[in-house]
Symmetry: C2
Subunit: 353 residues, 2 copies
Amino acid sequence: DFTAKDKIIIGIVGGDGIGPFITSEAQRVLEFLLADDVKTGKIVFKIIDGLTIENRAACGKAIPDDVLTELKACDVILKGPTTTPREGDPWPNIESANVAMRRELDLFANVRPVSVPEKNIDWTFYRENTEGAYAVGSKGIHVNDDLAIDFTVTTQDGSERIIKAAFDFAEKSGKNKVTVVTKANVIKTTDGKFLDTAKAIAKNYPTVEMDDWYIDIMTAKLVDEKRRSQFKVMVLPNLYGDILTDEAAEFQGGVGTAGSANIGKQYAMFEAIHGSAPRMVEEGRGQYADPCSIIRAAGMLLVHIGYNEKAEQLQKALDVCGLYEKKLVLTGRETGATGSEYADYVMETLSNP
Amino acid sequence: DFTAKDKIIIGIVGGDGIGPFITSEAQRVLEFLLADDVKTGKIVFKIIDGLTIENRAACGKAIPDDVLTELKACDVILKGPTTTPREGDPWPNIESANVAMRRELDLFANVRPVSVPEKNIDWTFYRENTEGAYAVGSKGIHVNDDLAIDFTVTTQDGSERIIKAAFDFAEKSGKNKVTVVTKANVIKTTDGKFLDTAKAIAKNYPTVEMDDWYIDIMTAKLVDEKRRSQFKVMVLPNLYGDILTDEAAEFQGGVGTAGSANIGKQYAMFEAIHGSAPRMVEEGRGQYADPCSIIRAAGMLLVHIGYNEKAEQLQKALDVCGLYEKKLVLTGRETGATGSEYADYVMETLSNP
Ligand SMILES: CC(C)[C@H](C(=O)O)[C@@H](O)C(=O)O
Ligand SMILES: CC(C)[C@H](C(=O)O)[C@@H](O)C(=O)O
């Protein structure tokens, strides 16, 4: 419970590529909203700038040890996108920093809301965030030149805690419906366990309706304008959550518009759901990166640390400002205004609601 | 090469639920189109009605041995949907008959075209059909009560043959572009192999452009009306192909409208991409099941056995008849007309083009 705390440390992790550009804008918005408590020292921002691909490559670790220590000293973290090395990149084959952070800080619930009132869309995704197809990271096996194997790992505890979180939310929010998404007709052992666990847990929530669909047909159902508003809260194993939330975000304006909360028992991390767009920075266009997603993530962070009213103010301002790409008066290059100008616009709107 | 053959045996597998209803309608359409060659005995239909969930449950096998022998005696197969047992069903936990048939007949290429001219959509999906997350079927491991493991298996040969098929098609069709879809940033070992193999193969096709995207963002890109027409031919590991083709079919009118070709070196099987809808049959509405998808699959079968002209006639008739749900004059229950009436309508249109 954060309301009882004297001091809340908010770690700001820039990450790679456009990350530092957009994260600093989100930090400005947070500082603006929390100005009073920053003054009294209740809110402290801590810049963690060591989570770069260069540092990670140098030590060959997804998260350098000193960065992990710094992360663990924070109460909550706002994180920009990080670059995952790919074949052909100048870096060794290290794991995604995202995936590693979720596991190291045991951030088991990846909560992603997608809301488009005019389309009657109001979805909240509870993505399992530490296991499934992501469990062993890069530790699959090249048995020989012909044969490669990866593992999907699902545990009872790991399934229970995310499914319970989804049902708790469905109950408390009054949405009263949870849709479980798996591919249990084929991936029978792990997804079967996930689905069985959900069915068992559902019995403890008599007011919450549960249904289940396979991930393939689910991607079709989200497209179906007539039927998609039947979905409220969805709970999914890691990989399906990854896939379905990107599709869902597109109806709201793209992955650039959605924030993501990664929540565990001890830590919580809030991030943009898009990538680090290194090309934008190489081409000198970093300042034009869209900060919408990370500012939304900052809004989720506010709720998490108990500043619900501030979060609501921010949400209203964002609704007024609209999507960066669509609404802001174009002032030049490609996507229009700089991220700074957009953040200014948000803060002006906050000042004159 | 089928044109040189004296006799082509077309196996008709009804399957479960609505399968026998819609499959027999597709057979009627094929018999109508191929009437001359049916008379001479060049075309022979062979009904294989043993692939039912009851038979499979009785022998505990995804495909009963005698059915497998019958299947292997055919040149091509037209198959209705089969029911995959689920937890809570009265059947043992046997593997999907689809998945087993694809593997047993080594039908490595699952080709799924989706075309919506008015939306500028013209996609052809090459889904790897025998390995990936589907490789070991139900043979994952419950290590203990807490821990479940599934395996994803990707081979060099398995990747090469599907990727080559996609590039060959892109080259021959003049589409000249292949998009490789993986999640190689996380599922590094198997998807990494698939992506690396694609990059190596691409070098042999200088006129074909290749790009690659991750499956999560790809589901968003298909929704993006401005950018989705950039995609032409897509090649994907099994699970992503399963997911993305259902989403794609939705833009065309739903999974009920798309056919699917499962092609190997020796055999080929054509099927509807939707399920067996047992509830429709239980409620006595089997005759109202939409035969569009399986009739489209029959069209793909015609191309495969060298009846290109007949296939084109059928395609034109289907374009005129439109989607079962949307265009046919409603004659009563739920989705309107019976599957028989729809097939009659297609055949009338074929007679009076
Ligand atoms: C960057 C990548 C590793 C990550 C994921 O796959 O989880 C991203 O797609 C996301 O959804 O947060
Ligand atoms: C029925 C099911 C096993 C099958 C699959 O997952 O491949 C289906 O969804 C398909 O796409 O043909």
